[in-house]
Structure formats: C-alpha cells, structure tokens
C-alpha cells in the first residue's frame, strides 16, 4: 500500500509573492473596461454576421423599395424617395443591431452558463449596466457608420443639422442597447428573445416611419404612431439630414432622454436585485 504523503509544499512558493487583492476606488475601471472590450470583441470577431449581414439586408431593402416605389413616389417630406428612405434605414439597422448585441450576449451567456463570469467579478450594478450598454451602443454605431457610408454612395446625403444626427444616433442605439439588456435578463431560452425581437422590436421599427411619412397615416394611426418611441428616433435622425420632421423635435429629444434615464435606472435596479441572474 503506498504511503499517503501530504503534498509537499513548494519551498519557492513562500518566497514568491502571493496574489494580492487588487484595490480600486469607487469605480472598478479595469473591470469596466474589460467587460466593455469583451462585449466589443464578441461582435467584432464575427463581423460578417454582425456588420456585413445588416449591411446586405439594409441595402436589399433600399434597392427593393427604391426600385418598386421610386417612380410612383416622387416626393416625400420635401425630398426624393431614396433620400427620405436612406436615413430611416440607417437608423433601423443601428437600433436592431444595438438590441441584438446586448440581448444575444446575455441569453447566450445564460444558456452556456458563463453568466457567472458576469455576476461573480467585483463589478457593481452600475458598472455592469454601463459596460453592457456601451457594448451595444458601439455595435449600433459601427453598423450605422458602415451602412451610412454605403448609402451615401448611392444617394446624395446632406447633413442639415449635425446635432440631431449625432444625438439621435447615440440616444437610439443606447435605448435599444438597454432594451436588449432588459430582454436578455428576462429571457430564459432563445425562443423568448426571438419572440421579443419578432413581435416587439421588428414591428416597432418597421412601423416607425422609416419607409413612409407619418403625416400620411390615416386618422387614429397618425396618433398611434406618435406613441411609438421608434418614431422619434427616426424622425429626429432624418431631420438631421433632410431638414424636415413629421413630429415635434422637442418631444423627440424629451422622449429619448427620459426613456434612456428610465431604462437605465430600471436595469441598474434589476442587476442590483439579481433579477433572473441569481438562484
């Protein structure tokens, strides 16, 4: 029978410094930056799916709608149909991808079990919310710039007011990024998040006025359209390009700012209580 010996302690280990607890101030900057980089690298690694695929889909929409309706619809919102359509499609691509980034990141992490890598490290709820939201925002903006450059090759793009372009691009991407975190936290299966995408996000973005002017909507639908926050994203963003808005620009700025603050606070709270994250 072999003699059981306790594992001999390595004489050098006492000499080597033991790992020390890292100290940081009120904000864990290294942790925040690490999580943000992880979120960005996650989509950058599969750029074919996350940047190129939305570009192809958006260009197809652009081609189809311009070819099918370009002759019949001569003037909408004071500009030609392709000039009207371009900004709307850029915004649609941005918000759909910002949403897809955070929601898929969380759902995949939950299903694979590596969600513990998010919950265990010394990251506060505020840091989790900020890093994840910034990751989705980055994807939205990256898609927006890519799609924007290609669309600009196809139709003349003039910037009427750069503030509205930037504000709406950032606020809308951030809002959908936050909504993606919310959807990702709530979902337990791919089916759940697919349902949210198919039945909430896609309809709201399609019916946001990207393809038509909301002024054209009949009666009650005209009113309903103004309750869709996606309407303000696209309307304000397009105003930054063509100088024409269907709705109130002030209302748009207020809706987007308030929606972002409310969502941010809600998600901070959900991370703090560990909603559907902790057993």
């Amino acid at each position: 029978m072999p003699v059981m010996t306790p594992p001999a302690s390595n004489p050098t280990s006492s000499a080597a410094t033991t790992p020390a607890v890292r100290h940081f101030g009120p904000v864990n900057w290294v942790g925040l930056w690490t999580l943000y980089l992880k979120e960005v690298r996650r989509f950058a690694k599969v750029a074919t799916q996350t940047i190129l695929a939305p570009l192809v889909t958006t260009l197809l929409f652009f081609a189809i709608f311009t070819l099918a309706l370009g002759r019949a619809v001569q003037n909408v919102g004071g500009v030609s149909f392709p000039e009207f359509l371009g900004p709307g499609l850029i915004m649609m691509a941005m918000v759909q991808n910002a949403f897809a980034n955070t929601s898929s990141s969380l759902v995949i992490a939950k299903i694979q079990g590596n969600i513990v890598d998010l919950v265990m490290p010394p990251l506060s709820p505020a840091e989790l919310t900020f890093a994840l939201a910034a990751g989705g925002l980055t994807r939205g903006i990256a898609v927006g710039i890519t799609v924007g450059i290609v669309i600009a090759l196809l139709v003349p793009i003039h910037i009427h007011d750069v503030f509205f372009v930037l504000f709406h691009a950032l606020a809308a991407s951030l809002m959908l990024s936050l909504l993606g975190i919310l959807g990702g936290l709530w979902s337990e299966k791919f089916d759940h998040i697919a349902a949210v995408t198919n039945f909430v996000i896609t309809p709201l973005s399609f019916l946001s006025g990207a393809f038509y002017s909301a002024e054209r909507l009949p009666g009650i639908w005209h009113t309903v359209a103004h309750f869709n926050p996606f309407f303000y994203m696209i309307d304000g963003f397009r105003y930054g390009f063509i100088g024409h808005a269907d709705g109130s620009l002030t209302a748009g700025l207020a809706v987007l700012t308030l929606a972002n603050i409310a969502l941010y606070a809600l998600i901070h709270r959900l991370f703090a209580i560990g909603y559907k994250l902790r057993p």
């Binding site: 799916q49 309706l69 054209r216």
Partner: protein, 272 residues
C-alpha cells in the same frame, strides 16, 4: 435454461420491408413536422407578423399615389410574394436548423443509424419542409385575404408551384444543414444567399421594369418561377410562361435533389 427463457420471451425480429421503408420515411416526416406543431403559435405567428408588416409598410410607403403596374393592384401583387417567401423561408430554415441542431447535440445519429436509405433521408426532410411550408403559406394567405383579392383561377397550378418551390428550398435546406458546422454558416447562407435570391425575384416589382442585366439574372432564379406561378394561379397576372416555369422548377428540384442525395449517400459532413 436459456432456451426456456428464449421460448417465453420472443426475441424481437427484424422488421422486413420492401424497396422503400415507408414507415421510416413517414416517421422522419412526422418527427420534423412535429417540430412545427409543437410550437405552432410561434411558428405561425412569426411569418404572419412579418408578412403583415411588409404588406403594411408597402401600402403606406406608396401612400395615395398610383401603383404604376397595369393590370394588377398593389395588394394582389405583393400578397402572393409574401406567401411564397413564407413557404420558402420556412422550408429552408426548418430543415437546415434541424440538421445543424442535431449535429451539435449528437441526435443526428438517430437519423443516420435507422434503416433509411440516403434518398429516404433526403425526402423525409424535404417533404416535411414542403408540408410545413404549405401550412404556413395557407395561413399567411388567409391573413392577407382581407387586403388582397384572390381570383383563385387555377388551384392545381397554385399547389404545383407552391409545393415545387417549398420542395426546392427544403432540399437546399438539407444541403445547408449538411454543409454547416456552426450557426455562423447557417446565418450566412440565409443572409447572403436566401434573402438576396428571394428579394430579387420580382417579389415587389415587375421584372419588366428592371434593367436588362437584372432581367437576365432574375430569369435564372428558380424562386422567380415559383413565385410567378403562385401569383399567376392566385390572381391571373403572370410574367413568365407557366410551362417554362414548371419545367425550370421540376428540373431544379431533380438537379438539387440528385446532388443532395449523392452527398447524403457519401455522408458529406454528417458522418465521421
């Protein structure tokens, strides 16, 4: 001792069947069809919502302005396209997702082990894709019925073209499923092949208004013939000769079917 046990419990005997394992083929069809019926609300609601959205967006984008295509209203033109797109999308994605998912979980051996020939496997998948596609196409057609006028001139033609298109995309789905090893591949096939193919087929605009090179491309697209056949049957408005369309569709099915059959027989990317 062993003899007496054997005598009391009859040993399972091999089931014998003729040239075609009909029971096996039917079982594979039912297994795949069951994937659809299990989550039928989501499976039906998805294509219905997408079709209604496309339909609404097109109507609204056109506004009150006149649709410059003689002989057919916008709704009648777009509805058959959305029906055919729902059929093809379902046929392609259900088979490819099923095969890829089974590859990842290891359940694909349940398809490769049973006494099914390569042709039976391919047909089991492709026919279940066709039948689920047709159910979805019917539901989308009913949901769009309030907004479009179906003349229903030629029911056999509608069925032939819808089923022919569904079968073709079901076979392509088997091909995509066998070829894919990761979900990236599956998504790439969908985004870079299926969506462009289906969009550039005269779905939302008559082919006659396209520039000449685009017309040539569309004329090589089998989806165009399936769509045009369904549209012709539903509304009486068609661009292509239905005999030519049917020939192209049958020819493509035979060609793709033969390729997929050979690949399945070799176990391309499905057997170790």
């Amino acid at each position: 001792m062993t003899d007496s046990v054997g005598a009391r419990i009859a040993a399972p005997r091999a089931r014998s069947f003729g040239r075609v394992n009909w029971l096996g083929l039917w079982s594979l069809h039912q297994r795949e069809f069951g994937r659809f019926t299990k989550g039928y609300i989501d499976n039906l609601l998805g294509p219905v919502v997408t079709s209604l959205l496309f339909f609404a967006v097109f109507r609204l984008a056109l506004g009150g302005q006149s649709w410059n295509v003689p002989g057919i209203a916008l709704g009648d033109f777009v509805a058959p396209a959305l029906i055919m797109m729902s059929i093809a999308e379902r046929a392609l994605s259900s088979t490819s997702a099923s095969i890829l998912y089974d590859k990842h979980t290891g359940a694909l051996s349940d398809i490769l082990m049973p006494p099914l020939s390569a042709l039976e496997r391919v047909l089991g998948y492709a026919l279940s894709a066709t039948s689920t596609g047709l159910v979805i196409g019917l539901v989308v057609a009913l949901c769009l019925a309030p907004f479009a006028h179906y003349a229903l001139g030629d029911l056999p033609a509608i069925l032939l073209f819808a089923a022919g298109g569904g079968l073709l995309f079901g076979l392509l789905g088997v091909l995509v499923g066998m070829w894919s090893t990761r979900w990236d591949h599956y998504t790439a096939a969908h985004t870079f092949v299926f969506i462009p193919t289906s969009f550039f087929s005269g779905m939302f605009l008559p082919v006659a208004v396209l520039p000449e090179f685009a017309q040539t491309l569309v004329a090589l697209n089998p989806f165009y013939y399936a769509l045009d056949g369904v549209r012709g049957g539903l509304t009486g408005w068609r661009e292509a000769d239905p005999i030519l369309g049917a020939t192209v569709l049958i020819g493509c099915n035979l060609l793709v079917g033969a390729i997929v059959w050979r690949l399945m027989a070799r176990g391309y990317r499905v057997k170790p």
